[in-house]
Symmetry: C2
DNA sequence: GAAATAACTTGACATACATCAAGACGAAAT
DNA sequence: ATTTCGTCTTGATGTATGTCAAGTTATTTC
């Protein structure tokens, strides 16, 4: 009631933009939330742990990635302000996660224990619907990414990435973008060089 | 009450396996359903049309694919008995679909108008939860497919496909499997030849 | 059941991209 | 300012997979 959560306000704003809530509903959501600061390179989730949360990024940038047998990282996805992040597979199955999530820059997330979160979704239908819509959109986005991964050339993948995620482009090291696109940093470097010649 | 829908029984069985419904609930679902037969090569959805349904495959095999500027097909996904199929992007956005869905073999689907379907999901929470769970699983599956598409070799992709979708392997022409994996039919042919030598 | 059509195989060749290795640049640390 | 470290760039070379083309084997179709 009297604590000042600057980061929560960002989440509140996000909610207000999408749905309208009674003040009781709004505060029951707030009461379930936990604000968590994550320094650059710090983990939000480490491979082997079970993910039992729902997490909204209020500030910063995080990545989800796996590490293969050879020890190299494969970036599965990114998130910035106003995105949700987490491992649905671990959440749904209760199994240890195959993924790592860490901060690309100093970040703050609004975290919910998933059990509470589910109760909120049921108790507040508009909220549940919003969350469901996000899941739908995520699915659609991943379908599109599959298509890109399978049928685009490296250059087309990068162009599509810039088009869709220009907000990310400046905040991520190129090597991470390359990994996300499934190409090597060298190839991405050459693509960028060419692109600057023939724009 | 007195109509005999052999195909509906398959859907009923599917439901009974997953959730328990009162007989009123069961019949309200049944009353919204439409059985549709689709001959091999016939469309369930054609590019440019809006998809406004939820469709359960009771029998047969269907595929979702797009056609690129060059005119070649890219297979996005398959479905067989007990799978759901459709275009969520078009459903959610109300925009014309970029995809085609057609039958790989003579098939029958249980079709719901999406507006009715949504009402059922709200009115019958267990049903809504089931549907939501399917969406979650689809999302997880597509995340895994992204990873495969980005980091696996052609041979690894095919092995993973066999492992996960052995039920499909015999029912699909190789050229479709190749397209699904994002490789050429020639490459798949060579992979299979090698695999038979060193199993 | 013959003819027509489609699906698969195989080979020769081309190429996009990966890999390996060295160097250049910039940001942070001392 | 100099060193250090990580990130990006550039070149030389290798390889998996694509492309083109021809031949073979299955499946439809009439």
């Amino acid at each position: 009631m009297s604590y000042f959560y600057p980061m929560y306000e960002i989440f509140q704003q996000y909610l207000d933009d999408k749905i309208s809530l009674s003040s009781e509903e709004a505060s029951s959501i707030r009461e379930s939330s936990i604000i968590k600061k994550i320094r650059k390179r710090q983990y939000l989730l480490q491979e082997g742990d079970v993910w039992r949360y729902d997490a909204f990024i209020a500030k910063g940038c995080l990545r989800t990635y796996s590490i293969d047998e050879a020890g190299s990282e494969h970036i599965i996805g990114f998130g910035i302000e106003n995105w949700w992040i987490g491992d649905r597979e671990s959440l749904l199955s209760g199994q240890p996660s195959r993924f790592n999530i860490d901060a690309v820059e100093d970040s703050e997330v609004v975290l919910f224990a998933h059990t509470n979160f589910e109760k909120l979704c049921v108790a507040i239908p508009a909220f549940g619907q919003l969350i469901n819509q996000i899941l739908q959109r995520s699915f659609i986005a991943s379908q599109n990414r599959i298509q890109a991964a399978l049928s685009y050339t490296a250059e087309e993948k990068y162009r599509a990435f810039l088009e869709k995620y220009s907000a990310f482009a400046n905040r991520l090291p190129q090597s991470m973008i390359a990994s996300y696109l499934g190409i090597t940093p060298e190839t991405l470097s050459r693509i960028r060089k060419n692109a600057s010649r023939k724009p």
